[in-house]
C-alpha cells in the first residue's frame, strides 16, 4: 500500500503530541512513523507516515486541522516530498569480520560514530527503504541494537508549509492553507 506523509505545523503546547497521537488512534490510523521537533519561534513540526490510501490520508489531515494548536497540515506522496530518516545501529561482528562491516557501512554511506572492542555503532541517514536494506545486510553480523528516529519530510519545490501562497491562482503548487475555522 502507498505511504503518505502528513506534515503538521503546530504551536508548541502542553499535550500536543498526545493530542495528535490520540486523534490518530481514535480515528483508526496506525502510524508507521512519527517524528516531532521544535523548529524555533514557538513552533513544532510533526511528520506522520501512514500506510493508507490517499483519501484516508487527506481525511486525517482535515481532522488534524481541527486541532486548536495546529496551524497547517499538508499531505504528500512518495514523490512529492523529500524524506529522510536517521538510524543508529550497534553491530557485534564476530572476530575477523569487523572490516566487512566497515565495508558495508561505506557502501551505504553510513558513518562509524562509536566503536568498542566488540562493537561498532553506525549512523545512517536516508529513506526508510535504504535503512531497511542496510539492516538486512547487517543481519549477518549480529545487530545488537537499532534506534530509528522517524521520517522527517519536506515538500519538494518552492512551497513552504504554513506560508501564504506567493502567487494566488496556483493552488496545485502551493501548500494547502489551514482552514480558518473549527
Amino acid at each position: 500500500m502507498p505511504v503518505y506523509y502528513v506534515m503538521v505545523l503546530a504551536r508548541e503546547a502542553t499535550g500536543l503530541l498526545r493530542r495528535v497521537s490520540g486523534l490518530c488512534e481514535n480515528r483508526g490510523y496506525a502510524l508507521q512513523s512519527l517524528s516531532v521537533g521544535g523548529i524555533g519561534g514557538g513552533m513544532v513540526r510533526l511528520g506522520l507516515a501512514v500506510d493508507e490510501p490517499r483519501e484516508r490520508a487527506e481525511r486525517l489531515a482535515r481532522q488534524l486541522e481541527r486541532l486548536t494548536d495546529v496551524m497547517a497540515v499538508e499531505v504528500a506522496g512518495d514523490h512529492q516530498a523529500v524524506r529522510r530518516e536517521l538510524a543508529l545501529i550497534k553491530v557485534r561482528p564476530s572476530p575477523g569480520r569487523r572490516s566487512e562491516v566497515l565495508q558495508v557501512a561505506q557502501v551505504f554511506r553510513a558513518r562509524v560514530v562509536d566503536a568498542s572492542p566488540g562493537t561498532v555503532v553506525l549512523e545512517v541517514t536516508g529513506t526508510a527503504d535504504k535503512i531497511d536494506a542496510l539492516l538486512a545486510v547487517l543481519q549477518e553480523y549480529d545487530v545488537a541494537e537499532v534506534a530509528r528516529g522517524g521520517v522527517v519530510t519536506l515538500r519538494r519545490g518552492p512551497a513552504a508549509l504554513g506560508a501564504e501562497p506567493s502567487e494566488p491562482g496556483q493552488p496545485a503548487e502551493q501548500p494547502r492553507r489551514w482552514s480558518a475555522v473549527v
Binding site: 502542553t14 482535515r62 482552514s179
Partner: protein
C-alpha cells in the same frame, strides 16, 4: 489579585452571568473568590449535572455555558457532560481545579489526569501551570468554545496557580502567550463551488434538503426557509435541527433516519440531489450507507471541512457557516430556472406525508406515551422549551411535539446521554427564566440525575417534569423484543420508587396520571401550578417507537406498524 480572583473578573468580562458547579479542595480559592462576587453560582448535586446544566444554558442562548469542578472525582464526573456537548457541538467552558503543581504526578489525594482524560471529549483543553498564562488561556478558551464549529473547552488549574499573584487584567497579561493563530472566522464559501451547486439544485428533479444542528448553531433557520420556499425543495431536519422548520410547513418532511417519517426516508431514498447543511451523515440518519440517497449528487455545506467526505463524499463540498452557505446558494439560485419536474416531486412527497402519518392506537385502555407528548404539545401551544432524556420518550417527543422555532428542543443527540433532561433543563430555565421549560423524561433516564431535584427545589425553578413511566429501559426492551428474541435482559425494572413521594421528599409537588381520561386535566394542572412539579405518567410498557429502520437496514426498509 490572585489567579482565582482574576479568573472571576475575567469570567464577568466574558459576559458570564452564571456558573454551575460544586466546590472541593482544589477549587477552594476559586470559591473564595466567588464568595460575594456579582456572579451567580448554581450549586448542583453532581458534577455531571454541572456540565449538563452548562450545556443546556448554552443550547438555549447560543453563548458558552460555564461549569466548575474540583480535582479528581469532580473533574472525572464532568466527562460524560463534556462528551455530550462535544458530540452535539455545544459551547461550554469547564474550569477544574487540580492539585498543586509541586505534587502533580505523585498520586496526590484527589489527583487525576484531568487534562489527559478530557482531551478526547473536548474541542480543546488546557493545563495552566504558569500563572501568567491564566488569563490569556481563559480568553482563548471562550474564543475556541464559540468559534467555528463550537464545542466544550476545559481549563485545568492547579491550586497554587489559583493562589499565585497575576496581573489585574487580561490587557496586562497579554503578550505572555502566543495567541491562537486562527481567529475563528469562518471562510467565505467558494464561489465556483456554490455556482456549480446552484446549477445542480436548479436542474434537479427531486431535490431534498437535509438540515442538521449546524443550521441552528448558525442562526440560519430563516435563510433555510427562504431557500426551500423559493426553490421548492422538501426539507427534512435531523433531531438536532428540529424547530428550524415549523412542523406545519408544507415542505417539511419530518425527521429522517431510524425513527424518521416515511416521507423523509422515502424522499432521501429517491432524491437525485441532496443538500446537506450543517449535518454529519450520522448512522442514525443514513441507515445502510450504500443505500442512502444512492442516486443523489450531494451538496454538503459544513463549517468543519473534516465532515466533508467523512461518511459520504460530496460532489459539491462547501466549507462555510450554514448561514453563509445558504445565503450564497440562495443568491446563486437567483435567476436560474428550476426543473419543471419539481412540482410533481412535491406532490409525491406530500402524498407520502398524507398516506403515512405518524400513528398510534388512540383507543387504548391505558395511557400511551405518544398521547402524553401530544397532550403536552397541545397544552403548551407548541411554545415550550422541551428538554428530553434519552430513549423511547425522546423519539416520541421529537416526532410528535409541534416544533415552531430553533433552540426549542434540548436533547442529547450524538452521545445519547441518559439523565440529560433534568440538569440541562436547570441550565435552560436559569438562562431563560421567562420561558416555559418542560422536561420530558423516561423513568430510567430520570433516575440517572434524579439528585438534581434538590437543585430545582433550592433554586425554586418552576420546571414541569413529566416522567413517561413505562417501568423499563424502553428502548432497550424494544430492541430486545425486535432483535434479541424478546429476551428482556436487565431492561425491565422489578420496581421503581414512588416518584410522587420522591418529588415531595425534595419539597417539590408530585402528581400522578394513570388514567387516560385524566390526561388533559393532569397536564394542565401541572402546567398551571406555580412552581416545580414532577408528573409521573404511567404508560403502556410494551409500546414501541415506530416507524423504525432496523439497524443496518436501508431507510426504505422501515417497519411501519
Amino acid at each position: 489579585m490572585n489567579g482565582a480572583q482574576a479568573l472571576v473578573a475575567q469570567l464577568q468580562a466574558e459576559g458570564v452571568d452564571v456558573v454551575f458547579g460544586i466546590p472541593g479542595g482544589a477549587v477552594l480559592p476559586l470559591y473564595d473568590a466567588l464568595y460575594g462576587a456579582p456572579l451567580r453560582h448554581v450549586l448542583v448535586r453532581h458534577e455531571q449535572a454541572a456540565a449538563l446544566a452548562a450545556d443546556g444554558y448554552a443550547r438555549v442562548t447560543g453563548r458558552p455555558g460555564v461549569c466548575i469542578a474540583t480535582s479528581g472525582p469532580g473533574a472525572m464526573n464532568l466527562v460524560t457532560g463534556l462528551a455530550t456537548s462535544y458530540m452535539d457541538s455545544v459551547p461550554v467552558v469547564a474550569i477544574t481545579g487540580n492539585v498543586a503543581t509541586a505534587v502533580m504526578g505523585t498520586d496526590a489525594f484527589q489527583e487525576a489526569d484531568t487534562f489527559g482524560t478530557t482531551m478526547p471529549v473536548t474541542k480543546h483543553n488546557y493545563l495552566v501551570k504558569d500563572p501568567a498564562d491564566l488569563l490569556p488561556v481563559l480568553a482563548e478558551a471562550f474564543e475556541v468554545a464559540r468559534s467555528g464549529r463550537p464545542g466544550p473547552v476545559l481549563v485545568d488549574i492547579p491550586k497554587d496557580v489559583f493562589l499565585a499573584p497575576v496581573g489585574d487584567s487580561l490587557a496586562e497579561a497579554a503578550g505572555n502567550r502566543r495567541p491562537w493563530a486562527r481567529n475563528g472566522r469562518a471562510p467565505a464559501p467558494c464561489e465556483a463551488t456554490v455556482a456549480a451547486a446552484a446549477r445542480a439544485i436548479a436542474g434537479a428533479r427531486q431535490p431534498v434538503l437535509y438540515a442538521g444542528g449546524g443550521v441552528i448553531t448558525a442562526g440560519a433557520a430563516d435563510v433555510l426557509r427562504s431557500l426551500v420556499e423559493q426553490a421548492g425543495i422538501p426539507v427534512t431536519t435531523t433531531l438536532m435541527a428540529l424547530g428550524s422548520v415549523p412542523v406545519d410547513h408544507p415542505l417539511f418532511l419530518g425527521m429522517p433516519g431510524m425513527h424518521g417519517t416515511y416521507a423523509a426516508n422515502m424522499a432521501l431514498t429517491e432524491t437525485d440531489c441532496l443538500i446537506a447543511v450543517g449535518a454529519r451523515f450520522d448512522d442514525r440518519v443514513t441507515g445502510r450507507l450504500a443505500e442512502f440517497a444512492p442516486q443523489a449528487a450531494v451538496i454538503h455545506v459544513d463549517i468543519d471541512a473534516a465532515e466533508h467526505g467523512k461518511i459520504r463524499a460530496p460532489q459539491f463540498p462547501i466549507v462555510a457557516d450554514a448561514r453563509d452557505g445558504l445565503e450564497a446558494l440562495l443568491k446563486a439560485l437567483d435567476g436560474l430556472e428550476h426543473n419543471g419536474a419539481r412540482r410533481e416531486w412535491i406532490q409525491r412527497v406530500q402524498s407520502w406525508k398524507q398516506e403515512h402519518p405518524l400513528e398510534y392506537d388512540r383507543s387504548a385502555p391505558e395511557i400511551l406515551p405518544q398521547a402524553v407528548i401530544e397532550e403536552i404539545s397541545r397544552a403548551t401551544g407548541g411554545d415550550a422549551v422541551i428538554v428530553t432524556g434519552v430513549g423511547q420518550h425522546q423519539m416520541w417527543t421529537a416526532m410528535l411535539y409541534a416544533w415552531k422555532r430553533p433552540r426549542q428542543l434540548l436533547t442529547s443527540g450524538g452521545l445519547g446521554t441518559m439523565g440529560y433532561s433534568l440538569p440541562a433543563a436547570i441550565g435552560a430555565k436559569i438562562a431563560r427564566p421567562g420561558d416555559l421549560v418542560v422536561c420530558v423524561d423516561g423513568d430510567g433516564s430520570f433516575q440517572m440525575n434524579v439528585q438534581e431535584l434538590a437543585t430545582v427545589a433550592e433554586q425554586n425553578l418552576p420546571l414541569k417534569i413529566f416522567i413517561i413511566n413505562n417501568g423499563c429501559h424502553g428502548m432497550v426492551r424494544q430492541w430486545q423484543q425486535l432483535f434479541h428474541g424478546n429476551r428482556l435482559s436487565a431492561s425491565v425494572f422489578a420496581g421503581n420508587p414512588d416518584f410522587v413521594r420522591l418529588a415531595e421528599a425534595y419539597g417539590i409537588r408530585g402528581l400522578r396520571i394513570d388514567d387516560p381520561a385524566r390526561l388533559p386535566a393532569g397536564v394542565r394542572e401541572a402546567l398551571e401550578y406555580d412552581g416545580p412539579v414532577v408528573v409521573d405518567c404511567i404508560v403502556r410498557q410494551e409500546e414501541n417507537v415506530l416507524p423504525m429502520v432496523p439497524p443496518g437496514a436501508a431507510l426504505r426498509e422501515m417497519i411501519e406498524r
